[in-house]
Structures are given as C-alpha cells and as structure tokens.
Symmetry: C2
C-alpha cells in the first residue's frame, strides 16, 4: 500500500495529497472544492471534536444551532465584514427546479426567485448577533457563552484537502459580555484552550500571538491566533480567537441595561477551529511511510497482526490476541485484531504504518511457545521483543502510548525551534526565507505598507506578533524605521 507514496523531500505537496487519499482520510468530491471526509479521517475528527467540546463545556459554554443561510442584507451591516466575505460566497437565488422544457433533466424555475438572496454562511457572526438582540436585555443575561458545530462555505478558487476547501466543518464560539475586559479575557481564554488542545492532544507546539491589522478577522478589533510549523518550513494558522469589541453589537443594535441603570452596547468575541486542524495534524508529524498519529487522537491505538501459515496457527494466535484485547480494552485502549487471511503480514504492516496506528503487536507461533510478543512503535519505526512472563503488558502499552505521544510532541517542538531564525538585515531575512524556511523573527516598523511590500517581495506574511516577545527594540528589516519588537514572518498555508 505505502509503496509508491511520494517522498517529502522530493515533492512535499504531492506527498501530502497522496497521503490524505491513500490513508483514507479524505478525497475530492464531484462538487468543485468540496471534500468527502472518509470514515477513517472522520473518526480522527470525531476525537478532536469530543475533546474540544469537553474543553468548551468545562469553560462554561453550551452548544446551540443557528441557520445555514444568511440574508444578503445582514452581511452589509458590518462594513469590514462584508468586505471580507462577499467576494467568495455561495449565493442561493431560487427555491425550486422544474422539468427542462426540452425534456432533458431539470432547470431553475425562474418563477421561484427569492425576494432576497441568501448566502450560505461563511461564518455566523451576523445571523447570531441578529438573534442575540432578542436574547440580551439586561446584564443578567450576560455573559452569553455559546458554541456551534457546523459546516461553512467560502468559495475558494484554489482548494486543497483539509487545508482550504469550499465547504469545511468547524466550531464557532460566539460570546457576549458586559465589559470590554471580560470579552478580552474570553478571547485570550479560548486562544489558550486551542493552544492547550494542540499541545496535549495533537502533540503540536504552537506560537500564541496577535495578528497584524491587515491579517485580522473582517469585523474584529483584534485577532489572536495559534501558529504551527509544518515539515516543509511553511506556517499554518491553526486557530483564531477574535475580540470583536462592540462592532457586531452596534451593527445589530444589541444593547443591555447595565447594573447602574444605563444602556450600553454588548462586547463580543468569536473563535473557531476547523477541519484544517486535520491538515496540520497530518503535515506536522507524518513521514514517508505514511501517517504518524498521536495516540490520543488515533482511532486505533494498537493493532495486532497474526503471523501464521495454517488455520490452526491462526486459531491459536487469535485466542492469545483475544486475551490481550480484553486486557487493553479494560483500560480504554482501542485495539484491533486483523485476522484476515486475504492479506500477508508484510502488507498489513505497511497498511497500518500508512494509517499511523501508534503501536503494532505481531504474534507468531514461536511467540506462543516462548510467551513473547513483538511490539513495534510507529513514531520511531523501532521494535522490540517482549517477554510476557516478566512484564505487565497493560502497563507496558500504556507507558508506550504516553511515550509516543510525548516523543511526537518533542520532535515537532525541536523542529519548530530549529526552524525559527532571527534575522536583523534584509539580506539575512531573504536568505533564510529562500533557503531554510520556517519562522523568521524580525523587526518591522508596524505599518501596513511595509507589511505589504515584504509580502510582495518574499511571499512571507506576518504570522503573528508573539504574546511572549521581549521588549527587544530595533529597526525594521525593510524600511529601517524603529520597531517596537520582533514579529514572526513565514510563508504560510
């Protein structure tokens, strides 16, 4: 199966596309730009969802559901919002088809034109704030902490599986607060939730920061983000959390009676992560043999492959495997036994490597005699023989899974650190971007003009102004003007 997977060093982009398809994660559909998320890929997404949902609820949020469609006029109510989304949206103009008069298929019924066109939501601020107007009267109704799991559509012209698709799945949190400070706290809280999720579950180190004015969300006062580094040296924005100020409250006239009897506009936030995280997960860890999954998100954590020549051997091994499965299952480890006789062990080994199963146990007739097992780990591609008399297998596997989870993170962390370079001159800056890639930490004069010129010259964008940057002052690498501190540049997905 994995034979013929392109090498990362030769064509990273082709490697990614082929891996996504061959590992049964996703594929392109008959509809331009829309993907099919296949069962194996979807089961990873379900694990992400479950954990994120738990984290959102733990921080006081509840789920709700808002309409797929947004009246065209709603978009225009927040000026920069319509600017950001009008250019790439799916527009519903009719509500009926009729038989083609030529007798061939169906055509749009011109008599069924909508009075006002509807936009398939690219994000839901407008439809949600139009609803919040009725939900919020007084400070007693605040904070309002709501999340939605939904599909959204942005008509991207160049699409790539998971990374940029016309339709994608995501969650979008939309909260309303009494004070500016509370809304700002919420914005940071959710950025931190995302960073914690990326680290602890995806084994993905991220940089927390704030977007430049040019890169912030259309309608936000400030956009916080987490940025990750992929193996090809390109950055990937993995999640964003927006402080909306009173922008949407003003656009939809959402005011509340304050504690001291006044009437004020509500303060808002919104925050989201999407199936794009699948792309980040795949690109951050996988290798030329296929997917490498952190155990906490792996649908199958352990696979048992029998090595057998006869039906009797398979039978004996199956019994041993059943014992092991029962033990591992009891501590919540997901195990699969692949007893198919239509495929050889070598084929199965390659198949589960391709699919990123963290631990593989092989059992042959000699193992039964000697009470041994062969245990292989996906992350390092190493294996060892285990003497079952001497160790507690459950302990062993639990420790191994934790170790793999940690190792994948450490490896990605080392990689990101190694791919982060300081540049103090324009020549250094260009040289790093051209030859090494990764994040370049450099001084910038803070103007949109310089940011745009750097982008034109190098294709690198400001990924973020890191939250933990020191006060290191200096001069802009391009304009030479004074800078308040270094920002992170990179070419990005």
């Amino acid at each position: 199966m994995s034979k013929g997977l392109p090498k990362r060093s030769e064509d990273y982009s082709l490697w990614y596309n082929e891996l996504v398809k061959r590992a049964d994660l996703a594929e392109n559909s008959a509809v331009r730009g829309c993907m099919v998320i296949k069962p194996y890929g979807y089961s990873i997404w379900e694990k992400m969802q479950a954990e994120l949902d738990r984290m959102f609820k733990k921080t006081g949020h509840t789920n709700a559901y808002f309409p797929l469609f947004i009246p065209k006029s709603f978009l225009s109510k927040e000026a920069s919002h319509v600017e950001g989304f009008a250019k790439e949206c799916a527009v519903v103009t009719h509500y009926r088809l009729k038989g083609d008069p030529s007798g061939n298929g169906v055509v749009v019924d011109p008599e069924a034109a909508l009075e006002e066109e509807l936009i398939v939501r690219p994000t839901s601020e407008t439809v949600i704030w139009s609803t919040y107007k009725n939900w919020i009267q007084s400070y007693r109704d605040l904070p309002l902490l709501v999340n939605q799991w939904a599909n959204v559509v942005r008509w991207e012209m160049r699409t790539r599986l998971f990374l940029r698709t016309a339709e994608f799945l995501w969650q979008e949190g939309h909260t309303a607060h009494e004070t500016k400070e509370e809304a700002q706290e919420e914005t940071l809280r959710m950025m931190n939730v995302y960073a914690e999720f990326a680290r602890n579950f995806m084994a993905l180190p991220v940089i927390k920061g704030i977007k430049s004015e040019s890169e912030k969300f259309a309608g936000a006062e400030a956009t916080y983000c987490i940025e990750a580094m992929m193996q090809d040296g390109k950055a990937l924005q993995a999640g964003t959390s927006h402080f909306l100020g009173q922008n949407f409250a003003k656009a939809f006239d959402v005011r509340f009676a304050t504690r001291d009897g006044g009437l004020e506009y509500v303060w808002g936030t919104s925050w989201g992560v999407s199936t794009r995280l699948m792309g980040a997960l795949i690109m951050a860890h996988s290798d030329d043999n296929g997917l490498v999954l952190p155990p906490k998100l792996a649908p199958i954590q352990v696979v048992i492959v029998p090595i057998f020549k006869s039906g009797e051997e398979l039978q004996a091994i199956s019994e041993k495997a059943a014992e092991i499965m029962e033990k591992l299952d009891a501590v919540g480890i997901s195990v699969k036994f692949d007893g198919r006789d239509t495929f050889k062990p070598g084929w199965k080994f390659a198949e589960y490597e391709l699919k990123g199963v963290p631990v593989r146990i092989a059992i042959g007739p000699r193992d039964l005699q000697n009470n041994t097992l062969e245990v292989a780990r996906r992350d390092t591609l190493t294996k060892e023989s285990i003497q079952l008399d001497q160790i507690d297998l459950t302990d062993k596997i639990q420790t191994l899974l934790a170790d793999i989870q940690n190792n994948i993170f450490q490896k990605a962390k080392r990689f990101m650190d190694e791919k982060t370079t300081m540049a103090d001159t324009w020549e250094e800056f260009v040289e790093v971007l051209d030859n090494k890639g990764g994040f370049v930490s450099a001084h910038w004069d803070g103007t949109a003009e310089t940011e745009e010129r750097i982008k034109e010259k190098t294709k690198a964008t400001i990924r973020c102004i890191p939250l933990d940057r020191d006060g290191d002052q200096g001069n802009c690498i391009l304009s030479g003007k004074p800078s308040a501190g270094r920002v992170l540049f990179a070419k990005a997905y």
Copy 2:
C-alpha cells in the same frame, strides 16, 4: 413563567408553539422557515445524538461526511428522486457578491454565475452513491455501512418549529450490500434501532410498519417507518428506513465483482431521523404546565431549590445541597442548584416545571433541622417529604428517575392504545376521525386511487401497513373491494 401558557384543550397548536419558545427549545430565525435551536433545546438533541450514535456504532456503522452541495444533474439521475425533491430545494446559482453600483449594500455579481447550479442537499443519496462508485469494486468492499450527521434543506412553504422547517438537522445512514436479503435485513435492523431508541430513551411507543406506494421515499423500493401518536390525536412519522433496491446503484453505475466472478449492481438502504424527534418528544408527553422530559434525555435531571429568607439560611442550605450534589453526581445524575436570590422559589418551581426537569428537591431551614427534603416529580406533579435518616437518597433518586421514565412511557402507551380504533364502515371511519382522532385501523383495497380519495375526503393518510397486522381479511371501507388486511389511517403532522 408558565403563567399564560395556552391550554392544550383550547389551542393545541398554539400551546406547542408557545411551549417550544418559552421553554427555550427553539425559535424562528430571521431566515424564513429556518429555526434557531437554543442551548436548552440543543442539549436535549445532543443527548439524542449521543445515544443514536452509540447504537449505530454498535451495529457496525461508522460516520463520514459528504458535500453540502449536489450538482443539479445528479438529482435527475434517479427519476422518482428528482420528482420528489426538485419542487422544494434551495438552488445556489452564483459564487460572489459585489458592491451595489447604487452604493447601497451588495448585489449578486452576474459575472460569477456557476456553470452548473448546485442544490443544497435535501438528502444525500445522489452525492453519496456517486462517491460509492469509487469505493466499491468487489464483494470484499461490502457491506459498506456509513452514517452522516448533517444539516439538510427542503424548501417547505408552511413551517413549524422542529416539525417542518426549511433547514433541519438529521442523520442519514447510507449502506451498500452484496445481496438483496442483506439490504432488506439492514433496512429492518435500522427501523428496529429507531423503535428501540424511541421506546427506551424518548419513552415513546411507536407502531412499526411499511409505507404505502404513494407515501414511500422518492427513489426507494420500500419505506419502513415508525409512527407515533401525539396528544391531539394526530400521528407523527418519527423515523424512516428505506430499502433502495438497486435503484441508486443503477443510477450511478455502482457495480461489484461478485464471489463467483460476475459483475452486479449493489443493493442499497438509507435511513434517517431528524430534529423532528424533538417535536415528537415535546408533543407526546408535555402538559399545560410545560415540558415533561423523560429522565434519560433531560439535560438537568434534578434541580435543587433552596427556600430561604436570609443569607445565612441560603449559606446553610447551599452546604447541604453541595453534599447531595456530590453524591448524585458520583452516580452520573445531572443536578443543578439554583441559588439565585433574584427569583423567588415559586417562580423557580414554575420555571423548572416549564423546562421539564424530572425531579425537584426543595430545602428550607426546617428541613435542615429535621434532616428532611421535599422531593417533587414533574410527571405526576406530586411531592413527598423524605426523611434522610431513613433512606439512601442516591438510591431513592435513581429509583425515582427510572420510575418516571417508565411512567411517562406507560402513559403514552395507554394513550396510543386508547386512540387506536377499528372501523369497519365508512361512517364509523369518518366518525372516529372527526370526533376522536388517533389511528384508525381499517381495510383498504390496496390501490393508490382509493388512498387518494380517502385523503381528499378526510385528510387522513395511510400512516403505515403495520408489520404485526394479523391476516384479518375484509372489505375496503371506501370501495368495498377485498382487502388483504387492515392498515393504519390518521391525520398526521
């Protein structure tokens, strides 16, 4: 809060609408026919989803995700399918807006017309079978057992919250099989899963049956269904499971290499339940005081309301409540303590009755002295004083919740039985429909013509041909022609 909820006996329809809104389940949105599912309503839906998802996985299904959009030409590939859905679908014709030349808002950009219009999925058979064509080559790829949780859109002209909305949430299973028998088994299996879910979780008795030719799904060979009875004597279709034969396999040319070296079309099924179940749940059990929720689907199973005059009293009661909550929480019972001092106990009692919380515990200063509690149950609106020295509270509450779950079911079952009437003449038939409502079990000659005439005359439709009907033969109530057995008629949602 519940003051002013209309009475069921006076205006059932108004009672339903008001209940849905006041209990914070759902409301109409700014988009015609689309609802907002509010956090409390959504948390009930999440409980339904979790249990159904568990049941689907237990029966071997996995989740996946397919595109929101369906190319117009796909719909036409199955003749009766396009017939069924073309008349009420949302059509995407453009992919961009632009500034209105008049300077006012945005307009559809005429230069951004799609080459082929896209339909927002009303159901996903076509896009899924076009995908299955690539997934299925051989009998080894079968059965393919996939489910999808998604939103769908049907442009209904007359909408009602949960019962009939332009956009709704649902799950749709789509399976592919080697043989006709296996597909038929699957169709029945999933109908049974739905019936079991309705009974054990929704406390909803249902009739299992098969739809008449006129009522079956557009594209199916046979549609199985579960039908429930609402308190106003109208029936509600709560779930359907379709045997698709080879219809979609033929429409999308999905063939497989058989075990004996042949090439054959695949056999298919599809099955779904939707947020309509929320409507069934509400209408089946609730009363003039508000919602009555079966404990297994109640987001809050127990609410504790303190009765206090001073801050010290509240403090003392809160400590007692915390002890109780810890115990109940430990056995998985969801408890809420409402210690707000901005609302009186009576207001809170009415509020939690409106929201259908199954058990209410009230604690006052005298209860602290006497080591007692007042425990009230929502289903019967009765209460009792509990002496804590003498009973195990956890046991007591567990037993009570189980008893409420069972009582709600039994009550609904008695109601349905009482609302099922045999009619042997046209006069009886009309009399029952006019005065009593409910299911009418009557003979029918099996023709679509008679079915249609009965519908025109009485507004009653054939809800189903019950699977457990006996061989009781007779004569059609309208035409007098021979009948092979009784079918169930009713006016329906």
